[in-house]
């Protein structure tokens, strides 16, 4: 059964006002295309979960889609801050933003517990840190098998998780390579899953390399084919991280008016991702292609009849 849908259809059907939404992908494979469509559809009161809110949540917060962030590192990697988020946190401008804060492994543990239907996940972190005071959902627990204490984090079960990947088949069987972040955990933890891919492939392509499958179609609700959907983040082997944009965002986001002007031009001002990519221009996109090839070689699984 084909689950292929347009981004507009997938977001309209699976993201609702008030939902807990996780657009995962650690630096790599961040689905900006989905975030922008959520902004265009003017979803409201979302709780946005992500280890690193990154520029995508700064944009979604600036656009007024979110009332709360669940996260572990709130910055523009290698560059600086996320100023739309900071304005709301530091000055309640234009409205307060609720924060629920963990460490990276705490967030990964939360998705893992959510995916496994466990009541908590134990980790060796948070000792003598102020984080458990800032977030009372991080709690010490005694081992049932000895004297040791570890910290527990609660399960995180997003209403919808959105992941970007290199390829999937029409049923949603999804393969990715390069940094894997915690997309698998976030997808299995979610009620609904949208997979966005650079390329739609035949089922045989997936079955020829089953070790590379990260998310089975079993848990996928929609497959969106959206080349360049992760820009300005990147897709290993397809296009590079657009570091220039990450640097530019520092200037754009420092001021509320320039942030809104950027949203007007690059999100509300385009109908969809294809128009955004056109607007970026062939020169910019050509510059982001890998400088060379680095194929993995292949392995022989053998046949057994």
């Amino acid at each position: 059964m084909s689950k292929v849908a347009s981004m507009r259809e997938a977001i309209a059907a699976n993201v609702h006002d008030g939902d807990v939404v996780a657009i995962e992908g650690f630096t790599h494979l961040i689905c900006f295309a989905a975030g922008h469509e959520i902004i265009r559809q003017r979803k409201r009161d979302l709780t946005l979960a992500r280890l690193t809110p990154d520029l995508i949540y700064d944009q979604m917060v600036a656009a007024g889609t979110a009332r709360k962030l669940v996260f572990s590192w709130l910055g523009n990697p290698g560059v600086g801050g996320l100023y739309a988020i900071r304005r709301r946190v530091e000055a309640a401008d234009p409205a307060p933003l609720e924060l629920e804060e963990y460490s990276h492994f705490g967030m990964v543990g939360r998705y893992t517990a959510g995916a496994s239907n466990l009541p908590f996940f134990p980790i060796r972190s948070y000792f003598e840190s102020d984080l458990p005071k800032a977030n009372p959902l991080i709690r010490p627990i005694r081992s049932p098998f000895g004297e040791e204490t570890v910290y527990a984090v609660p399960p995180l079960k997003p209403d919808v998780t959105i992941v970007h990947a290199q390829r999937a088949d029409a049923a949603g069987d999804t393969q990715m390579w390069g940094l894997l972040g915690c997309q698998k955990e976030a997808a299995f933890a979610a009620e609904r899953v949208i997979v966005v891919v650079e390329e739609l492939v035949a089922e045989e392509v997936i079955r020829a390399d089953p070790n590379r499958t990260v998310i089975p179609g079993l848990i996928v609700d929609a497959v969106v084919v959206e080349p360049w959907g992760a820009h300005p983040s990147y897709v290993q082997g397809s296009y590079d991280r657009d570091n220039r944009f990450y640097r530019d965002w520092e200037g754009i986001s420092k001021d509320a008016a320039t942030t809104q002007a950027w949203l007007d031009e690059w999100v509300y001002g385009v109908a969809d991702r294809a128009e955004y990519v056109d607007k970026l221009g062939a020169e910019r996109t050509a510059h982001l292609r890998p400088t060379g090839a680095a194929p993995s070689g292949s392995v022989d699984y053998g046949t057994y009849r």
């Binding site: 790599h28 590192w73 990697p77 990276h104 060796r124 003598e128 915690c182 991280r241």
Partner: protein, 268 residues
């Protein structure tokens, strides 16, 4: 007490303070095997170490890369260049559970917005948590790295705002209120790490003394003790004798300028 040796004051140096800081941090990695790399200055320092004093150093990035050999300086710790040619790419779950909690990481590199004399680190907020004056990025992986890496290296510029008597929020524990308490709590709670061991700044190199407090062991060329005292919120303990950090070598400078940071993004 003899006045400690110090570099010639105010004499222009043929290298920047950031370059000196990177070189000093890289040299501290001699003999280490597995290092958890952070973004920015640590990234350059660790890659410099791999090309100089620590050829067997395995670079671990929290994004899930082990044994990276980046061919360019990554802007972020999730760059595609840390993937191509790496030994292993693993889900973050494995990286934090099997590699870090499993005790395989020798050195964790951390940055900080604020640090105190015992190496406790704040990277969360300036001001009150609920009503911060400045909202900083937060822990990321720092809290679990501080607890589980065998030792912690800190690299940061020093100033009255960053080297403070009291940090506003303890994101990542260092030597808590002193070495004795820290040792007892680490033992009781079964931490894998022994906490901070080196702090490299733009002015000098600190290690931690028996009391668990930062001690200035070496002063960089061009820096003065006066500058050091002016840029920290407490009176620092000083090693006797105080060493002078050897200036960067031509090889170290060439690697930084030509290979690791040709655009000077971090080293100007």
């Amino acid at each position: 007490m003899n006045e400690p040796r110090q570099g010639p004051a105010a004499e222009p140096q043929p290298f920047t303070r950031s370059e000196m800081m990177i070189v000093a941090a890289a040299r501290e990695l001699a003999g280490q095997r597995v290092c958890f790399v952070g973004v920015g200055l640590p990234n350059i320092a660790v890659n410099l170490a791999r090309l100089t004093v620590a050829p067997d150093l395995e670079l671990v990035y929290e994004s899930g890369a082990f044994g990276s050999r980046p061919e360019r300086l990554p802007l972020s710790i999730g760059d595609p260049s840390i993937v191509t040619g790496a030994t292993a790419i693993v889900p973050m779950f494995e990286l934090f559970s099997f590699y870090l909690e499993g005790g395989l990481v020798d050195v964790g590199f951390l940055g900080a917005a604020q640090i105190d004399r015992f190496g406790n680190i704040n990277s969360t907020v300036i001001g009150e948590y609920e009503h911060p004056k400045t909202r900083l990025p937060g822990s990321g992986g720092a809290c679990e790295i501080a607890i589980n890496a065998r030792q912690v290296f800190v690299i940061m510029r020093q100033s009255r705002r960053s080297f403070v008597d009291r940090i506003d929020f303890r994101t990542s524990p260092g030597n808590l209120g002193g070495a004795e308490t820290a040792a007892r709590i680490r033992r009781e709670q079964g931490w894998l790490g022994s906490g901070p061991s080196v702090v490299v700044t733009d002015l000098g190199i600190y290690h931690f003394d028996d009391a668990g407090e930062m001690r200035l062991d070496s002063i960089h060329p061009g820096a003065t003790l006066e500058q050091i005292r002016e840029t920290m919120g407490w009176d620092p303990r000083l090693a006797e004798p105080l060493a002078a950090t050897p200036a960067p070598t031509e090889t170290e400078l060439r690697l930084i300028r030509e290979e690791l940071d040709p655009e000077g993004a971090y080293t100007k």
